[in-house]
Subunit: 342 residues, 2 copies
DNA sequence: GATACAGACTAAATCGTTTTAGCCAGGAAA
DNA sequence: TTTCCTGGCTAAAACGATTTAGTCTGTATC
């Protein structure tokens, strides 16, 4: 069984292709098509089960009503939730979302942008990797709006972004730890040049300095990005084995690292918070349900999705009006959710 | 800056559009295009940064190199992992994936199928909802292959599916509980007519019967699908408050229910496994890291994704050969991962 | 009686590819 | 000299929509 096209309907209804098109696009009245013809065409279309071919439509109009979403890894809870919120929001504006994962690989990200561009998506929401600014500029030059989420390029204000104030978030967590009397605060982060992580790290250093606490090099563990699970566990284990002596608190700078940390804490049977206070950037079911419950800096994931989608739709609407005037980066707040672990 | 098309290249290279097309599709040799022309065209294409328009290509060839993936909810860990494994696998075959979530809503699922169909995806991998068989038949009639995952229609063998043997999986868990001496085993499931859940429930009943244990109605809790988090918590709490007296073990039939259960167990400070043994269908980071660790029936998620993708690609390859001969449903085994909770 | 205009449509170009069916020149075979 | 290849390309149709610029009829206006 073949798909029915507009001309099949035209033939069956005894009218021209144009007439059918007008009827299907609610332009019939404007085009002064008579009531009877409209009804006839609608009837035939329904009867034959007509569904417009979006490829043809997109080719002709240049609009696919599709947006590309590039995240780091769709199987990660944070990105999966983000993706769902963007999908839901997109539906409200009658857009469809195509997702893909970069695995934080620069080349893969570039490939994905190319692939989406070839598929003529109307706009992009991107969790960028390093060195992606030029590729994004190319999209913008083609008049395709791009919104960055979760990460940003501080030196490129022309690329709008929606994310939390990472510096402020980590500062909040650090202040809470210090207020509770912890002084030997360790940090676990991931090796990257991306600004959002540097902001988090900077907050750690600044808060320590502000309180006159020396920053011990041995308390900061930087996990290389593509070290496997086992290797990363070992590294964290080395750091946390000092719990109760060298360190009295630990701040995990990402969700994934926090889960890794829990695994180590469990294995080493570290008493939280007696031997070690724990706080993690970004929430997760585990942190809420672990015993003791783990304090986190919570990102408003849904809101990031909503705001990013909104920003994109705005630009899609105003597309053609040369440069969209308002390019103010959106910064949401990441709040401390204090639980039993501190 | 506009996108470059094949005819821009043709003009600049001083050849015809056809020639450019042949060169870009590695048909140049077959079409006996001379070495010099090939090189010239390739050079110009590279120089202008040519990227073929997939809409146009798809319109002409009828193939979009895209497959549609419909899951229940992309923000759920199980489906997110599944999606990632399918995305990775698809890339190996040079296909792109478009995902969407049904939220287990029949009408939404239908809409999604329509939307993907309008976008001319080449094939589908679907986590079906109830009453979707007819819509899937329509896809098959249009010669679009469909593979079901996670769920299936027992009365429709013509729709191939890839999933675990749910009956066997639950049986394994039940046998393990009984072997450990538990007799008052409760069950928490979700209200649905879908066969995969009925299989799980049936296994529970059959194993009890086989061991001569009476099935107590009060020990089976069926949560309505769209009851909110709070309501579901209450229901589970009511059941689990009997821990140590009315019941000595509980089997959660889905991941989500298990997490809900953990929340209740934590709140009621139930001692696991002393007062209550716990087992859950489908693994999750929480179960591995909770104290005590929770036993699960683990589904080979990655393998489901791989096998489903493989089955789809097979059918895509053999498309046009009328009916693809082998339609044997793929059934993987779900193994018991025994942890501290039983 | 010519002009205008509204009403009800349709023809044809167009979007960017792929692909079939040729065209043309030159050399070999008959 | 005609016929037949063959090598090296190109023209044009087709995919399924949208959209601009008409075409006709018939009626109202001057």
């Amino acid at each position: 069984m073949k798909k029915v096209s507009i001309s099949d309907i035209a033939r069956k209804a005894g009218v021209s292709v144009s007439t059918v098109s007008f009827v299907m696009n609610d332009k019939a009245v404007k085009m002064r098509i008579s009531r009877e013809v409209i009804e006839k065409v609608e009837h035939v279309a329904r009867e034959m089960g007509y569904r417009p071919n979006q490829l043809a439509r997109g080719l002709r109009t240049g609009k696919t009503k599709t947006i590309g979403l590039i995240v780091e890894n769709i199987s990660n809870a944070f990105f999966a939730t983000l993706a769902k919120s963007i999908e839901d929001e997109a539906k409200r504006y009658d857009y469809k979302v195509v997702y893909c994962s970069t695995d934080n690989d620069e080349d893969k990200a570039r490939d994905l942008i190319n692939m989406l561009s070839q598929r003529q998506v109307d706009g992009y929401i991107i969790t960028p990797t390093l060195n992606l600014a030029d590729d994004i500029h190319k999209l913008q030059a083609e008049n395709k709006p791009v919104i960055l989420i979760d990460r940003y390029f501080p030196q490129h204000e022309e690329i709008p972004s929606v994310l939390v104030d990472n510096y402020e978030g980590v500062s909040r967590g650090m202040e809470a730890l210090i207020a509770k009397g912890y002084r030997k605060i360790a940090l676990v982060t991931i090796e990257t040049e991306m600004a959002h992580m540097k902001d988090r790290l900077r907050a750690y250093c600044d808060v320590l300095k502000r309180h006159g606490i020396a920053e011990e090099h041995s308390r900061v563990k930087i996990i290389p990005y593509n070290s496997d699970h086992e290797k990363a566990l070992e590294e964290v284990e080395r750091l946390l084995s000092g719990a109760g002596t060298d360190i009295d608190a630990v701040f995990f700078l990402t969700n994934y690292l926090g889960v890794l940390g829990i695994e180590v804490i469990k294995k080493l049977r570290i008493k939280v918070p007696e031997q070690l206070a724990v706080i993690c950037f970004d929430d997760n079911d585990i942190f809420r349900l672990y015993t003791p419950t783990i304090s986190v800096i919570r990102q408003p994931v849904e809101e990031i999705g909503k705001k990013a989608m909104f920003a994109l739709i705005e630009r899609l609407r105003h597309s053609g009006e040369e440069t969209y005037p308002v390019n103010i980066p959106v910064r949401l707040t990441a709040d401390l959710v204090a639980r039993e672990s501190i």
